[in-house]
């Protein structure tokens, strides 16, 4: 009786999660949804007398593979939401038809397959699920097992080869960088010296205090935009910093959009 309850709960959860996986706008949410599905499946395995598989599911599958997904998601741009507008003509329609068709067919197939009551794994798991599994793997399927090990090694190697990028030009040495800075200075007049570190100003060494130039004016370079934006939203922005920001936005608008705001999601 307990089993059918767990089944129905988990069934509903996993199907909802699966639909969430498919139809969520943001990739991260889909990843999480998949995680939920895997968890529910793990539990179902456990219910079906496959404790070892449940463990492996959670540890290896959800733990490692899902994390790999998230890791790659982060690399590729976590918030890249892709629009749900379908570009290929007739793709969505046929996809739905095929999906429904498939589900109906399988359902029908399974429906009228006259299944007797499950034999149950009681005697198979007699000495415990793991030893029985181990006996099976290392006697009948040992060859397959060895092949999978080879498979995993090649997969790892393959991933390394694919992701590896050969450096096409020599690693820029320090001399190269400095020469580049002075060339940039010649062209754009950008100060070749590094920016002053935060907190090294005359009166206070706090991060939000702007450095003073010899002629007593505030050096716009030393204002930290993010902090300034936070203070502006809190209303505690110092008047001279605000004036500098005004000037800067005016000059920025005058000569085009200049530097892009930080965090703009590339691509798409």
């Amino acid at each position: 009786m307990g089993e059918s309850i767990t089944f129905w709960v988990l069934a509903v959860v996993s199907v909802a999660a699966a639909l969430g996986l498919v139809f969520s706008r943001r990739a991260v949410y889909s990843a999480l949804m998949l995680g939920v599905v895997m968890f529910s499946l793990a539990v179902l395995y456990a219910v079906q007398d496959a404790p070892f598989l449940a463990a492996v599911q959670i540890i290896v599958y959800t733990g490692a593979v899902m994390m790999l997904f998230l890791f790659v998601l982060m690399l590729v741009g976590v918030d890249s939401s892709d629009s749900l507008v379908e570009t290929i003509r007739g793709q969505r329609f046929w996809a739905i038809v095929a999906g429904l068709g498939f589900a109906v067919l399988l359902g029908l197939g399974i429906g009228n397959a006259a299944l007797t009551a499950p034999v149950g794994l009681a005697d198979a798991n007699a000495g415990g699920n793991v030893p029985a599994l181990a006996a099976l793997i290392f006697t009948r399927h040992v060859f397959a097992f060895e092949v999978t090990s080879a498979l995993l090694i090649t997969a790892a190697l393959g991933a390394m080869v694919l992701a590896h990028r050969e450096r096409t030009e020599p690693k820029p040495t320090q001399k190269d960088l400095s020469r580049a800075r002075f060339v940039l200075f010649g062209q754009t007049g950008k100060n070749p010296a590094p920016l002053p570190g935060p907190g090294t100003y005359a009166q206070h060494n706090a991060i939000d205090m702007p450095a003073m130039l010899p002629d007593g004016t505030v050096s716009p370079l030393s204002v930290n935009r993010v902090v300034a934006r936070y203070e502006a939203s809190e209303g505690k922005l110092a008047p001279e910093v605000e004036r500098i920001l005004q000037e800067e936005t005016v000059s920025e608008r005058a000569n085009g959009n200049g530097a892009r705001p930080h965090g703009e999601e590339d691509g798409e």
Binding site: I88, Q91, W94, A95, A98, G99, G101, F102, L105, L106, L108, G109
Partner: protein, 632 residues
């Protein structure tokens, strides 16, 4: 009396009678292959070969006379031409030897005449080569002992006439006339070929002896079919009605050619064929009747055309056509007419060649002017040509005691006796002949001068006038010699047979008198119109009848409308069908394959998801199919 048996023979001149063919052939080969080097002596070699052939023919003739009349058919077998079909051999018998004599004698005279006529033509060597080729082919035609040999000679003669008509190749009209002659002859040869096939299919042999033997054995032999087919061949070659259009255009060739080929020898080949296949024709009345009808029809057509032509050579060509009509008529009558047909053929060969050469010398004098309206009053300036031409004229209209009188009246009498309507039509033809021949003579030699400004006629050189004189002598004497006492009929009897009782020649028989009267009327009418009255230099607009005659009874127009234009249309259609139809089908098949593959390519959109979709749908279909099969 039936024709005699053929006796195999090998000795004497007859045994070497193949020389008659070989010598001119050798002459032609030397002249053609020799090239420039033979230019100097080319014409002399030509004449020599032709005369040599005549000598051999004469010797063979005398050797033949030596034998008893019954064994005068001598076969000389040469070699096995096509194993399984026929051996080739020569048949020297009265019929063929008389033809050989005519061909070689008249041919030699014309060769001599051409020395003068073609004196200043750059390609004279080629001319004599073709003349020799013609003589050789004609001799092969008459001497061959089977239909296949005859056919080889037949087409050889057609080729020679093509080469000679188109001798002045740079003239487009000559080239077209030559092509037309060859193709119309080819149509005739088509009929002859089918005839020969039928003969072979029936007898499994094409030799005359084999055919005669087969007919004697009897059996269901398609006589009429063979007869009509041979007649079609004869019409093609002898320019008889359905296939007569080429003869008038053939006048494009040099005059000696017209004299030799289109008057004396080649055009008579058809008559030879009909006479030689006597046994076949005698066994079918319908075919013989058709021959006579064709003869009479051509006779009248030729005469009518002769009346309307201003070009002297075309007028003579018209008269040739009608005279051969007479011969066909006689040949169609059967054994009774054969002797007269061949006799008329020989005398016609003489006086027609004489007149053609006379016309040639007139043209030669009037620097190649052919329009009679530009002649007039040449009688005093060219006495020899005038006298010889006049004798030929008298002979052809059947002036009493000249050769034409004997042979043509013989034909008319046998025709009237055989079939009254045809006979009287022949008499009418004789009348018209009287008219147009006199018109021709009066316009050319009598009346006032109508010459072009730069024309100053003079008598032709001796080398041209001597052949005229010899021919005119023949025109006078030959008729009487052949017909009186039925000498020629008896001579020919072993070759072609003859009627039981010999016809007695009554000089003033009723039909003879009527013909003479009609001829006199025609001549008188011509004298009134052309002799005494003023002949306009430009052809007056004639009535419907004259234009009808001037346009060769619309023979050409008919050919064009019935064959030429639909032929061109058919060719264009066939070419179009070939390019578009069959080729189109093949190319469109290729394009179809190209097209479908082009479209099939579009399936690979490049989007991974559409491939995934096709996999998924495939899987779904598979599962579905699996269920369906599972549940069957």
């Amino acid at each position: 009396m039936e024709p005699a048996e053929i006796i195999q023979h090998s000795g004497g001149v007859i045994g070497a009678s193949w020389l008659m063919i070989a010598l001119p052939l050798l002459g032609a080969a030397i002249l053609l292959l020799g090239g420039r080097r033979t230019d100097r002596f080319g014409h002399l070699l030509g004449v020599a070969m032709s005369v040599a052939a005549f000598v051999v023919a004469a010797l063979a003739f005398f050797q033949l006379l030596g034998f008893a009349p019954g064994e005068r058919r001598r076969g000389v077998s040469l070699y096995d031409l096509i194993p399984g079909i026929t051996k080739i051999g020569l048949l020297v018998d009265p019929l063929s030897i008389s033809f050989c004599l005519l061909i070689t004698f008249v041919g030699s005279l014309i060769h001599i005449y051409s020395i003068g006529y073609m004196a200043h033509d750059p390609a004279r060597r080629r001319f004599f080569a073709y003349l020799n080729l013609f003589v050789a082919a004609m001799l092969l035609l008459v001497l061959a002992d089977n239909y296949l040999g005859l056919y080889v000679g037949w087409e050889g003669v057609g080729l020679a006439s093509y080469l000679l008509i188109g001798f002045w190749q740079h003239k487009p009209s000559a080239a077209t006339a030559a092509k037309k002659a060859f193709i119309v002859n080819r149509v005739g040869d088509f009929g002859l070929a089918i005839g020969i096939f039928t003969i072979f299919a029936t007898f499994h042999s094409v030799s005359y002896a084999g055919v005669a033997d087969g007919i004697a054995k009897g059996g269901s032999i398609p006589f009429t079919a063979i007869g009509l087919l041979l007649l079609l061949g004869a019409c093609g070659k002898s320019a008889q009605l359905p296939l007569q259009s080429w003869l008038l255009d053939a006048m494009e060739g040099p005059t000696p050619v017209s004299a030799l080929i289109h008057a004396a020898t080649m055009v008579t080949a058809g008559v030879y064929l009909v006479v030689r296949s006597g046994p076949i024709f005698q066994a079918t009345d319908t075919a013989q009747l058709v021959v006579t009808i064709v003869g009479v029809a051509t006779l009248l057509a030729g005469a009518i055309i002769g009346t309307a032509k201003d070009d002297i050579k075309k007028a003579l060509a018209g008269s040739t056509m009608s005279q051969i009509g007479y011969m066909m008529l006689a040949a169609g009558i059967g054994p009774a007419g054969y002797a007269f047909a061949i006799a008329h053929l020989i005398t016609h060969g003489f006086f027609k060649a004489d007149m053609f050469l006379g016309a040639g010398s007139v043209m030669h004098a009037m620097n190649d002017e052919v329009d009679m309206r530009k002649y007039g009053g040449l009688r005093k300036l060219m006495p020899i040509t005038f006298v010889t031409f006049f004798i030929g004229y008298l002979a052809i209209i059947g002036f009493p005691l000249l050769s034409g009188y004997f042979t043509k009246d013989g034909i008319i009498e046998t025709a009237v006796e055989h079939n009254a309507i045809l006979g009287w039509l022949a008499v009418l033809g004789a009348g018209i002949t009287g008219f147009y021949m006199s018109r021709l003579v009066f316009m050319t030699f009598f009346g006032k001068k109508r010459w072009e400004a730069d024309a100053h006629p003079h008598e032709s050189p001796a080398v041209m006038t001597w052949p005229l004189i010899i021919l005119s002598v023949g025109a006078v004497v030959l008729g009487a010699f052949l017909v009186l006492g039925n000498r020629f009929m008896i001579f020919l009897a072993p070759a072609v047979g003859r009627p039981e009782e010999l016809p007695s020649f009554a000089p003033f028989s009723p039909t003879g008198l009527v013909t003479l009267a009609l001829v006199a009327v025609g001549a008188g009418f011509a004298w009134v119109r052309y002799g005494s009255a003023e002949v306009p230099a430009v052809a007056p607009r004639g009535s419907f009848l004259t234009t009808f005659a001037r346009r060769d009874l619309y023979g050409d127009a008919l050919n064009e409308a019935l064959f030429m234009r639909p032929g061109q249309w058919l060719t264009r259609l066939a070419v179009f069908f070939d390019n578009r139809g069959i080729d189109g089908l093949v190319n469109s098949l290729a394009a179809l394959i190209g097209g479908t593959s082009g479209r099939m390519r579009k399936v690979q959109t490049g989007f991974v998801r559409s491939y995934a979709l096709s996999i998924f749908v495939g899987a779904a279909v598979l599962v579905g199919a699996w269920f369906v099969v599972g549940n069957l």
